[in-house]
């Protein structure tokens, strides 16, 4: 479904990704794990078009994402839940969800999509008239994921969905990822919570210093020495 080949990317004066190749197949859940500053967020931004790579190719079902303007990538079916959720804090929960349905194909189905997001997150329905900035951390994450789900994406990019949340809420977020997968959605998730994420995904890539250090099925990585020593503390 999604294919990155030899991608280099960075910001002015500093390169964050070096020759990254990665693949996500339809219906899979794939994790990108690695330490802070490894380039995980940059990788997500490159896929959703917020940053353009300096080299390499990115294809979504054969369509060249590098020839697609950033604001059209959502229409192709990639929704990105950014790091730190980035809700519109002074807008209501429902207005945030409305922004998620901005593209024409989503607008016509707004009521229907809204109902299904509220079904997924009943809490959001209760808080729909509240400013998004006044929600708790967990509710904000629900709102951010709900906003991304409004456009009925094929591929959901989740950037550190568990960051800053209490352990109980983190459990819920990972439970949610499993539910989304079960509904047929393809998920690419960036996480620091290595052990928990490896239990909900099929495969994972380990990113270190902007390069793919290793990759494999979740089980292989859970058993691998590198991962165990560096990230699971065993």
């Amino acid at each position: 479904m999604l294919q990155l080949t030899s991608v280099d990317a960075g910001y002015s004066g500093f390169q964050a990704l070096f020759d990254v190749s990665l693949e996500v197949r339809a219906g899979e859940a794939v994790a990108v794990i690695g330490p802070n500053g490894a380039g995980k967020t940059t990788l997500m931004r490159v896929i959703s078009g917020l940053i353009r790579p300096t080299r390499g190719t990115i294809l979504l079902e054969g369509a060249d994402l590098l020839r697609t303007p950033a604001h059209r990538i959502l229409e192709l079916g990639i929704a990105h839940v950014p790091e730190n959720r980035r809700l519109f804090a002074r807008m209501t929960v429902e207005d945030n969800l409305r922004m998620g349905a901005f593209i024409p194909s989503a607008r016509v189905k707004f009521r229907e999509r809204l109902a299904s997001v509220y079904e997924l997150f009943p809490r959001l329905r209760e808080r729909r008239r509240q400013a998004a900035g006044t929600l708790s951390g967990g509710e904000q994450q629900m709102c951010a994921i709900g906003r991304a789900m409004m456009s009925e994406p094929k591929l959901l990019l989740l950037d550190e969905p568990s960051a800053g949340l209490a352990p109980v809420i983190v459990q819920q977020v990972f439970g949610l990822v499993e539910r989304l997968r079960a509904s047929g959605l393809t998920v690419l998730i960036v996480e620091q919570n290595v052990r928990q994420v490896l239990h909900v995904v099929d495969r994972a890539y380990l990113l270190e210093a902007g390069t793919v250090r290793s990759s494999g099925t979740a089980d292989e990585l859970l058993r691998s020495d590198t991962i165990n020593q560096a990230y699971l503390g065993i």
Partner: protein, 290 residues
Amino acid sequence: MFGIFDVYLLEAVINGILLGGVFALLALGLNLVFGVIDVVWICYAELIMLGMYGMYFLYVAYHVPFVLAALISIAGVGALGGLLHVLVIQPLLGTAPINQLLATGGVLFFLQSAATVMFGIDFRNLGIRLPVLELSGMYISYARLLAFAAALIGMVALYLFLARSYTGAAIRAVAQDRQIMPLMGVDTRRIYITTSLIAGGLAGLAACLLVLQYDVQPFVGLTFAPITFLICVLGGLGDMIGGFVAAFLFAEIISVAGLYLDLEWGYVFAFGFFVVLMFFRPQGLLARRR
């Protein structure tokens, strides 16, 4: 029931409210552009000047009915707002903010000089003399009442647009977080252009109302610009509700102080009040709320 003194005071307060409506309209367009695009249109009052000329020529020279002339002027100044964005602001968006400020400053003098060359320095007016209403001993200018009502309608229409439509929601969203807008499928460039068209249209509406009370000349913008900018700053640049409150506060100070002293003293107090408030509320009247 009212002593003669109270009637004058009430009249001044009512006139202050009417004036406040127009001030609020003046500040709204500027605040919208600043809040959304993060740019100050220094030449905002010159757009109003051009709108007033538009009204003058349509109404006096071409005998277009007032309402139709107003609609044409609003559309015309709206288009100028869009043009200003595309030709001047857009190419400078990635550069230092001071460049955008200086560029629109340049546009200000360009428009003033161009208007002088094209229209001369004659003072012109529509020749419409609206009656003055007498209401139990108070005198209220019909032109001001009309301006207040039209300004209110314009502001309510903008509010509904921002609150109810997708584009309106996107305009509010850009003001909060412009970087992630592509993730919502929003083309920020188009939102900026739409915002500029609306801000220009608001300047056009202001022009249609002000032309009933002021003569047009190339430098008429200087009459409105200082008060417009100070209201925006006092309300907190980009804060539309703050601007609204500041507009009425300013108008009341001018109107009530003008009752006891002269109209000029009203302005002296209003600007003095502004300077003092800058010490206490440099971020805007309602800043603590946010």
